[in-house]
């Protein structure tokens, strides 16, 4: 499955992308919201993992724009954040995210959520 990982922290990006690749996914990378929009439009990933606090354009806004663009509107988005606060989750869902997960990433939990959103995605 082609997954777009939007994450500004280098270590988190490296770690998560390698773990996803180990599970047979193709991982595209974006380091801020603006880049995420561009890559999503060009590459048409099957799923987006979106960090929320990002430079240039934050995850909430990028999500909103992606969902507003007919080209990318159907791509499911899972928000990822370090804050386990309820308010963040509400905001993410309000912005149009399809699901939400908190860091530290529990791979089992995340793969479960991915499978639920893209049932026929090859692993």
């Amino acid at each position: 499955m082609k997954i777009l990982l939007v994450e500004d922290n280098e270590m988190n990006r490296d770690m998560l992308s390698r773990r996803l690749q180990r599970r047979g996914h193709e991982v595209l990378i974006a380091v801020d919201g603006a880049e995420a929009l561009r890559v999503a439009g060009e590459e048409q990933p099957e799923l987006v993992l979106m960090d929320l606090s990002l430079p240039v354009m934050d995850g909430w806004e990028a999500t909103g724009r992606m969902k507003a663009d007919p080209q990318t509107a159907s791509i499911p988005i899972i928000a990822l954040t370090a804050h386990a606060m309820g308010a963040d989750r509400e905001r993410a869902l309000a912005a149009g995210c399809d699901d939400f997960d908190t860091k530290p990433i529990d791979m089992e939990r995340l793969t479960g959520k991915i499978a639920a959103l893209v049932p026929d995605g090859a692993t």
């Binding site: 988190n12 770690m15 390698r18 180990r22 386990a84 606060m85 309820g86 509400e90 530290p104 791979m107």
Partner: protein, 706 residues
């Protein structure tokens, strides 16, 4: 033995003056008879008693009286009467009469002003008339030379003694005033220092909160990397056949997770203490919540050979911050698992239907090592595990239970503990299903503002001993007071300013800021000085407390009857002093509240008939002020519902109407309400009168019907 009382300084001063001058005055009188005549016997008796007996007698009377100043003024009047007698019996010898009268007159004016001076002249006249009437008026106006000299001597002695006493008095006053000024300056200085310290502490506290928020992010990011990479390494080691490395990497991951847990707990606790913890309540299915908790903790519990069972009945749903409740349950179950081996861990959940809505009880029982009563006392305190060796053996921060209880408090409930050593422990979490039962015990963490106070006069309890405060809170709550506890002086002062309690119960012995200091600061604050303060202490030093401005004094342990009696004395009976105001207009409610509170009523508000009925279910006010035109349920419907409940005569009702009532409407109100008054046309005095007459006539009526 006479108890030591405060004697007015004039008493002592007059005594000195009398001792010196009275005998001389008597001698002066006798000197009139120097020419060889024998004075009549009664005059000898009078002169001797006046000269010798009167000074100590006057002193003794004044000293032993309750109001020494007043009695001493009467003594001076008696002096005048005696001088009157003296003047008449010495045939009005001009000089001596004039001088003695002048001396006393000055004395009278000095101590009692015009009133006492006039009283003195009246007494003098009575003395003259009485003696004149008895022995006849035979004015001579002359006196022997000796008498004149003696009179001058007496006068000089009197004025000198008097002036010296005055001088001493004035010096003492000046000293006192200087001392007072110095103390005031000192107090002002202290207050300024305290204000500065408070500002600094506020700033520091804000900085701390900011630091923690940043810290939280900064600490978690690298830890996430440690945990994530160790998981990645485990996977890669397994794939590349380096299985030998796996256990070590697993240790790094476990340690990382442990550290993350600790950091989260410390941060949560700091957040609660900084008042930054926010709850996100939502409607949840309790059975689902239990299921989620079960699947999370089951592997952990089974690890040590324990059996895990979940018992629950019909639970329904509740309105709660599910993240926090889950955190509490997982923490308690985690503890149970930690301290139990080859035993049984049980999670029981049940729903109780109480008077104040439904409550959910979650019981976590284990058959583990248990705790001694001594250990149970400290178990909810931060960083206090049952004992230090436990920490080494079982790990943990010792923050889990503190945090769990704080969360339970924030959710409107509490956690209780039953345990015996070697047998096991049972923790019970009780949480209101509605998610909002602001029990008074939690008020220190979530201060209620004046407007939110649940009826009843608010009593602020400042006591470092949480147990004592809790007992008093319960007693007060049962009697319909609204008790707000504060565990230290600073919090107490802050809360006093915020909630403006009707009365403050103040413990004397507290660490940091003691009760006397708190009392002094309450009395120094113009906004708070009027609030009666009842001191509570193990030692009975009532007098000290009362001089410092305490309204009353209770000795620990406080008996319930004494406590309630004292409260009633200072703020009146709660039940007889609350008024339920039902009006949809907030401005009107506020105005009525202000009016009523000025007359020492406490006010419970409701925005329409339905809310009014709900308030009546909670407690019974002394009277109801009812508006007629309201949304949802208007005043007429409210009255009808009351009648259906058979409640209508229990509380007197006064209707406040903004509109002209028609004949039919008036007829509907008749026999149901005590009085109808027009909105906007009454003062708080009139309102008070109407309330009182309504209460009185209502009492008569109910007695008549009973």
């Amino acid at each position: 033995m006479t108890t030591k009382k405060k004697i007015h300084p004039a008493v002592r001063m007059d005594f000195m003056v009398r001792v010196l001058t009275c005998p001389l005055a008597a001698l002066t009188m006798f000197s009139l008879f120097w020419n060889g005549r024998m004075p009549p016997l009664w005059l000898v008796a009078f002169g001797a008693s006046y000269g010798v007996l009167w000074p100590p007698l006057a002193y003794a009377i004044a000293r032993n009286s309750r109001d020494s100043k007043n009695v001493e003024q009467w003594n001076l009047t008696a002096d005048c009467l005696f001088i009157g007698v003296w003047i008449a019996s010495t045939q009005y010898s001009l000089w001596p009469s004039f001088l003695l009268f002048a001396a006393l007159h000055v004395c009278n004016i000095f101590f009692g002003g015009t009133r006492l001076a006039l009283r003195g002249i009246l007494a003098l006249t009575i003395g003259i008339l009485c003696v004149g009437w008895a022995i006849g008026f035979n004015p001579q106006f002359q006196s022997p030379l000796l008498t004149t000299w003696l009179t001058i001597g007496t006068y000089l002695l009197f004025t000198t003694a008097f002036a010296y006493q005055m001088h001493a008095n004035r010096k003492q006053l000046t000293r006192n005033r200087l001392g007072l000024a110095a103390r005031n300056a000192e107090i002002e200085d202290k207050n300024a220092q305290l204000a500065q310290a408070r500002d600094e502490a506020d700033t520091a506290n804000r900085a701390k909160s900011m630091f923690l928020a940043n810290m939280s992010h900064e600490l978690r990011t690298p830890l996430n990397a440690i945990i994530g990479y160790s998981e990645l390494l485990t996977e890669e080691a397994e794939d590349t056949g380096n299985r030998a490395l796996v256990p070590d990497i697993e240790k790094i991951r476990t340690a990382g997770k442990h550290l993350l847990g600790l950091i989260n707990e410390v941060l949560d606790l700091s957040k609660i203490e900084a008042g930054k913890m926010e709850l996100v309540p939502e409607e949840v299915d309790v059975a689902e919540l239990i299921d989620g908790v079960r699947s999370t903790v089951e592997p952990l519990v089974r690890k040590k050979g324990n059996t895990f069972s979940v018992e629950c009945g019909a639970l329904g749903s509740m309105h709660v911050d599910v993240t926090r409740l889950r955190q509490v349950l997982i923490n308690l179950l985690g503890n149970a698992a930690k301290f139990t081996e080859n035993g049984r861990v049980t999670l029981r959940a049940s729903r109780d239907h109480g008077d104040e809505g439904d409550w959910l009880a979650f019981e976590v029982a284990d058959t583990g090592i248990g705790m001694t009563p001594e250990q149970q006392q400290h178990v909810f305190q931060p960083f206090a595990q049952a004992d230090a060796s436990t920490a080494r053996k079982y790990g943990g921060t010792g923050l889990g239970l503190t945090l769990s209880r704080r969360f339970a408090h924030m959710l409107g409930g509490d956690i209780t503990l039953q345990s015996s050593q070697g047998v096991g422990s049972t923790f019970t979490v009780s949480i209101p299903a509605s998610g909002q039962a602001a029990k008074p015990l939690q008020a220190a963490e979530q201060p209620l503002t004046e407007g939110e106070a649940v009826g009843g006069p608010t009593i602020l309890i400042i006591d470092d001993d949480g147990g004592g405060a809790a007992v008093m809170s319960r007693i007060l709550a049962k009697e319909g007071y609204h008790a707000v506890p504060a565990t230290n002086g600073e919090d107490g002062l802050r809360l006093a300013r915020e909630i403006k309690p009707a009365l403050i119960l103040l413990d004397v012995l507290m660490p940091h800021v003691d009760g006397w200091t708190v009392l002094a600061r309450l009395k120094a604050d113009a906004q708070l000085a009027e609030i009666p303060v009842v001191m509570i202490s193990v030692t009975p030093d009532r007098r000290f407390g009362v001089t410092l401005g305490a309204a009353d004094y209770l000795v620990k342990p406080v008996e319930q009857a004494r406590l309630l009696q004292t409260l009633r004395k200072h703020i009146g009976d709660r039940g007889e002093h609350s008024v339920l105001v039902i009006d949809d207009d907030k401005t009107t409610r506020d105005m009525l509240r202000r009016m009523l509170e000025r007359e020492t009523w406490s006010v419970v508000e409701a925005a329409d008939g339905r809310e009014g009925l709900a308030q009546l279910d909670k407690h019974r006010p002394a009277a109801i002020l009812l508006d007629l035109m309201m949304p949802q349920m208007d005043g007429f419907t409210f009255l009808d519902s009351l009648r259906q409940r058979g409640d209508e005569i229990a509380v007197p009702i006064i209707v406040l109407s903004a509109k002209e009532l028609s004949r039919t409407e008036l007829a509907r109100l008749e026999n149901q309400v005590q009085k109808v008054i027009e909105k906007g046309h009454f003062s708080h005095h009139q309102l008070e009168q109407v309330l009182h007459s309504a209460l009185a006539s209502h009492k008569l009526r109910t007695q008549g019907e009973a």
